[in-house]
Subunit: 321 residues, 2 copies
């Protein structure tokens, strides 16, 4: 739940005057995303989302995100399209923050996705990879395997207070990743969403209608994006693995882009790595968030359960690939 | 900022099937109201707000609020209209909570209202009183003067930690109200909003487009509603009194319904009382809200500054009446 920065009427009116979007009809903070402030903005021209980028967003990355969304939309992938102001620039400033207006995307985020939605999401992810195949800009994955030991350093005892015995397991996971991470360079690479959780995907009924929140997008192994989605979509709220959802997700993906043999072989370690990434960033948020913060940090232990599953996996077939 | 109760897709779909509103196109938690969970809901039939009533709402009061909004809308006052389901009932249950869908109201809530908006708001308040004049249902004001000593009891020392010396001042204020509160029965009475703060009022530009959030509405002295608005609209963020805004507010109100001599005479004590009401409920929230709560309580001292002003007032003329 976001909305950190509040916007005065005068600020909003001056900001809107830079666009050809007419007059504001409605402006409401919405509980979407946790990193930035998001507003539902309706004007005489239509419905939009206004995002103000908060401290964690690096301003120098913002043109990449905006250009990526423009590229995806131009290539038929449904995502919010950044709206250019009169001077042609979509990235602007509002209330002292970088800000962008994007088009409104119809659809609902599933709280607990069903197996049909998982199939659709897999197809959608492959379409995203296809639509970005000729996107020329690149961005390093700041939350890739090289960052994980740094996130972990000094947090072993915090992790132990959450679950006794977990620190040794994480140490082992990290050592395993460290030994094979160089192989990632041999996998098909491209632009990945890197955070395509259910709350960043929209559906009408079971039909995928698009993705939002590209603020972790980067250049990395395409199959790592699939591994993130397996973690985010194929586990139930109680932490149990749902084989059908996973198989559907992978099947949907492969209906557009079949995995290579190397990707298939790498899938278990990519899934373990993706689970580590979310375990570690949640652990950081868990230990660093002040008790009186407006945003409740997510429980890292959701990912401890996933790590336990991935450690026991023998091959990609265990995921339904 | 609200959104406490989350709604699953299955729950939402089953709920919507009770209405003639078609299929959901969008469903987003919005940061509106602090007492209940509010969602922006768009369906193939239009735009709506879905409210889930949280613990502080007394279920037995909900029909009153719903009937009041229906009555106001039927009498030309712009407010969210409760939408009846197929069985004719607007008050329903969703995710274990009482729930209502209301129509979407265009407009923006001013962060810092200007003097023109204050005039419009005064007119709007009088229109609200006129539109509810023949509303037959009544509801006691649960936060009227009889409740204030109970809210204050045992909180003197908390108040002193916020501002040294304030406890004696509040004791005096309460004694002053106690001595004259019986006179309130002689003032013109009717249905009042009782919480018409800027975030509950919508404008397009400077034009008032309607009011929302009637969940403190009750039967009380009409001029007390005006006193609440003077407190909410005519003080600047730094606590200073803006005479022009107050005079505009009262002038707008009197352009529809002139105050009686008794109301004019009572205005200073009504303004003091309204400031006490918000000081005390904020003080309760301030002392009772756990440090890790999602909602930040508002600072009671905003109302200490208003109380200081009202104590020095000699007559209604000081408010521009």
């Amino acid at each position: 739940m976001a909305v950190y920065t509040s916007v005065t009427d005068d600020e909003l009116n001056a900001f809107l005057a830079e666009y050809n979007l007419g007059e504001a009809l409605s402006f409401k903070g919405i509980a979407e995303g946790v990193e930035n402030s998001n507003y539902y903005l309706e004007t005489t021209a239509g419905r939009y989302i206004l995002t103000l980028f908060e401290k964690r967003a690096d301003p120098k990355d913002l043109p990449y995100f905006i250009n990526l969304k423009k590229h995806l939309a131009a290539n038929g992938f449904s995502c919010p399209l950044p709206v250019e102001a009169k001077d042609g620039d979509a990235l602007r400033t509002l209330a002292g923050r970088p800000a962008v207006i994007v088009t409104f995307l119809n659809g609902l985020s599933p709280r607990v996705p069903n197996a049909r939605q998982c199939k659709q999401l897999g197809t959608g992810l492959a379409q995203l990879h296809a639509a970005s195949a000729d996107f020329q800009e690149t961005r390093a994955n700041g939350l890739g395997p090289n960052s994980w030991p740094k996130l972990w350093a000094g947090r072993q005892s915090s992790a132990e207070t959450l679950q006794t015995g977990i620190a040794d397991l994480i140490d082992n996971d990290l050592a395993q990743v460290e030994a094979v991470k160089h192989l990632s360079a041999d996998l098909p690479r491209g632009t990945i969403h890197a955070d395509l959780f259910p709350d960043n995907a929209f559906f009408l009924g079971d039909t995928f209608t698009g993705a939002i929140d590209f603020y972790f997008a980067c250049t990395d192994a395409l199959a790592y994006d699939l591994a993130v989605c397996i973690n985010a979509w194929a586990f139930e709220p109680d932490g149990s693995f749902n084989y059908s959802k996973s198989a559907n997700l992978i099947g949907g993906y492969e209906s557009i882009r079949p995995l290579t043999e190397k990707e298939r072989k790498a899938l278990p370690i990519l899934c373990l790595g993706a689970a580590l990434r979310f375990f570690l960033t949640r652990l950081v948020d868990w230990t660093d968030t002040p008790a009186d913060a407006l945003v409740k940090p997510k429980n890292p232990l959701d990912y401890a359960a996933r790590l336990r599953f991935h450690r026991a996996v023998k091959s990609a077939a265990d995921y339904g690939a």
